[in-house]
């Protein structure tokens, strides 16, 4: 009888734990099988066109890179994956070193992040991977520092958009190159605005005015944010206030209170609403139940403008301008010198003006270089694409999510706290105190 009971206990234990173990079952995902290293056709340097480097090739010629295969893990899907594959195929065909880049789709961002974490533990990271900085803090020591490459073997690092350069230096060294970047823009119902004689708001005050008119005339909310933490961060910066750093909250001051006051004002007066059960504001605006919302520039394709015209504007500003930048960078993990050089060739290719322009136009992401924005090709494209126009107009003011340890927890805590306070229709001081507490509880442990 005792044995039976013991067995029952053990079985119960097994059942109870199967949740946790079910999750950690992914184990170490070994690298996907590499297709045999077939050196691609070598084309003479002179004939190969835009794919490889054009200017500043003194260093290139005698790099002495041997043919090899580079593993690149990504999380792109559909159109974006198609475009990435097309670009990569082009590189594989045209590079003079016989480098083959092997793409592996690891699923969605969550999956890619988990796989990287797991492989970091097993020391089986790929050569290159897409990554958000705040995934990397736990294993940032495995990142290859790219400073030397940038200094010696890159045409013009300053041509990379400033916000992206800053983001890729968050660890104190150059950790990666920007890749699929987007930004938050203001999508609005142009038809409704025109009808009410309104134009897209550019400042905090203008937003308040617009919101009042919309509420009075249409009875719906004027604006919403998919990402509450992002909203908070941007507004703090727009008000000239600090956000957070490793030591804790930087907004426990007058300017912080002002910002929170403005935010709670919007929500408590019914000018702004939470996304709630509708999950994404693209749904809400498509049903014309909200006049505008702030969301990622890549979200434009999810909006169905049926019987109304979609307008896109940059984010509002107060004393400063600030716009959230989103999207990953490509980071390098290879320990092998030859592979590092080979991988760098690929990165140069991807971030070249031509590649980034083609990428942006095909996928709806943003070019990573200023020269790409100003190129004729892209300017022509922008004439037909209001989203990119809005993005470009705020490209000098990009801000990125913080990436130090605990930053993910902090952003989640901020979003949850804001949501809770908004649901409670709290006042500004209560909200500010709650936010400060939430942040400091995590960072000052």
């Amino acid at each position: 009888m005792k044995l039976k009971k013991g067995l029952a206990v053990a079985l119960t234990a097994t059942m109870a734990f199967s949740t946790l173990t079910g999750c950690s079952n992914n184990g170490s995902n070994n690298e996907t099988t590499t297709n045999g290293t077939t050196p691609s056709e070598t084309t003479s340097v002179a004939e190969s066109t835009s794919a490889t480097e054009t200017t500043g090739n003194a260093v290139v010629a005698d790099n002495g890179i041997e043919p090899c295969t580079i593993e690149f893990w990504h999380a792109m899907s559909n159109k974006q994956e198609e475009e990435l594959t097309a670009l990569t195929d082009k590189f594989n065909a045209e590079n003079e070193y016989g480098i083959t880049v092997n793409l592996t789709n690891q699923g969605a961002y969550k999956d890619l992040s988990s796989k990287l974490t797991a492989n970091a533990a097993a020391d089986t990271l790929p050569d290159l991977a897409q990554a958000y900085n705040n995934w990397l803090s736990a294993y940032s020591d495995k990142l290859v520092h790219l400073d030397d490459f940038v200094a010696n073997d890159f045409d013009n690092w300053d041509d990379i958009v400033a916000g992206y350069r800053d983001e890729n230096s968050q660890f104190g060294f150059i950790s990666g190159v920007p890749f699929n970047k987007s930004t938050y823009v203001l999508f609005y119902n142009k038809t409704m605005f025109d009808e009410l004689g309104l134009s897209a708001p550019l400042t905090w005050d203008e937003l308040l005015e617009v919101a009042k008119v919309i509420k009075d005339e249409k009875g719906i909310e004027a604006i919403g944010w998919d990402d509450l933490a992002g909203m908070f961060q941007a507004m703090l910066v727009q008000n000239g206030c600090g956000y957070i750093d490793e030591t804790g909250a930087l907004f426990d001051n007058e300017k912080g209170l002002e910002t929170v006051e403005y935010i709670m004002n919007l929500y408590n007066n019914g000018y702004a609403r939470l996304v709630g059960e509708d999950k994404y504001f693209s749904n809400v605006i498509s049903n014309q139940l909200i006049a505008s919302y702030v969301g990622s520039s890549t979200g434009a394709s999810y909006i169905t403008a049926d019987g109304w015209e979609l307008g896109v504007a940059p984010l509002v500003s107060n004393t400063e301008m600030a716009a959230n930048a989103a999207g990953t960078n490509i980071v390098m993990f290879s320990q092998d010198t030859n592979k590092q050089k080979a991988a760098w060739e690929y990165l140069k290719f991807l971030t070249s003006a031509e590649s980034t322009t083609e990428w942006a136009m095909a996928t709806g992401y943003l070019p990573v270089r200023t020269s790409a924005y100003e190129s004729e090709t892209y300017q022509t494209f922008m004439a037909t694409d209001p989203t990119s126009v809005a993005a470009y107009s705020q490209s000098a003011y990009f801000i990125s999510q913080p990436a130090f340890e605990g930053s993910y927890d902090v952003m989640t805590a901020i979003s949850n706290t804001l949501e809770e306070q908004i649901l409670n229709e709290a006042d500004a001081q209560t909200t500010l105190d709650a936010l400060v507490k939430a942040v400091n509880d995590i960072l000052q442990k």
Partner: protein
């Protein structure tokens, strides 16, 4: 005799290895990890071994919320779904027309993906054009913000889960009802037994083992609730985390916050709770 038992072990070996590797080992690891403070799973470093994670756990408002939510959830979902399932099974067992059709309808939730069900229910619960609010409006009740307001989060989750777990319970109760000899019901008719007494004195004792099974399994799986939360709110745990459950907490701490020690500690607590509950239930069952 010796040869025979060796063969038995060899046949068992593959399954045993799998269980040991993928269940027993992670189990032990998780238990150990719960005592590693500031554990970095990638480097394998931890600051010290101690009860720090447990202290953090019980100091974490989210965890106490998760415990509370999960307990309320279990207390409501399990008895409600079993009671309703029993009633429906009894109805299905009586001679109604199209019995097969009804059985299929009631069993559908079990074979449908929980994500798909969650999508449909998030539409049903939608405050503006959801089915539930439309029906309520016929009775003059105002729009309820089922999925938007924290105070309705748990009720929505409970309604959804009761509906979902009925399928399996109905099935096993139906099977059990079929084993009750028809003559018992005839005898009860001759004995002028009122319907409710037939139910309590004949039907329920007849399927008592099934009911007990449903309770134990129900409690265990209700404590592990996660899929339902995920699918109802598309990955979030309700507005302002109002529907956070223990497993959701574990998952979030492990995969999003990378706080492996804390997540393991939470998992150990969950394990202990379920263990105690199950032992108590089995003891109660044995008494009868």
């Amino acid at each position: 005799m010796e040869k025979k038992s060796m063969k038995g072990y060899i046949y068992l070996m593959p399954a045993l290895i799998v269980i040991l590797l993928f269940t027993a080992y992670p189990l032990i690891r998780a238990f150990l990890m719960s005592f590693y403070e500031d554990y970095n799973m990638i480097s394998g470093e931890y600051s010290r071994i101690g009860l720090g994670n447990y202290k953090d756990l019980f100091g974490d408002k989210d965890f106490t919320k998760a415990l509370r939510n999960t307990s309320i959830y279990v207390v409501f979902v399990v008895p409600c779904s079993i009671a309703l399932s029993l009633l429906i099974a009894v109805l299905l067992n009586s001679n109604i027309k199209c019995q097969g059709l009804f059985q299929t309808i009631f069993f559908l939730p079990y074979v449908t993906s929980v994500i798909a069900i969650g999508l449909v229910w998030s539409w049903i619960f939608n405050s503006n054009y959801g089915l539930l609010n439309i029906i309520l409006s016929w009775f003059g009740i105002d729009k309820v913000q089922w999925l938007n307001k924290p105070k309705y989060a748990l009720p929505s989750l409970i309604i959804f889960s009761v509906w979902k777990s009925m399928a399996f319970d109905i099935l096993i109760f139906l099977a059990g009802l079929q084993t009750i000899p028809k003559d018992l019901y005839n005898a009860s008719r001759v004995d002028s037994t009122p319907r409710w007494r037939v139910f309590w004195k004949i039907t329920v004792p007849g399927i008592a083992p099934m009911i007990s099974y449903a309770f134990i399994m129900g409690f265990i799986s209700a404590f592990k609730v996660y899929n339902e939360v995920f699918s109802l709110w598309g990955g979030k745990a309700g507005p302002a985390n109002s529907a956070i459950t223990v497993v959701y907490y574990i998952y979030d701490k492990f995969y999003n916050s990378h706080n492996y020690g804390l997540a393991s500690a939470a998992a150990v607590i969950l394990f202990l709770i379920i263990l105690v509950l199950t032992i108590v239930q089995r003891m109660m069952g044995r008494k009868k």
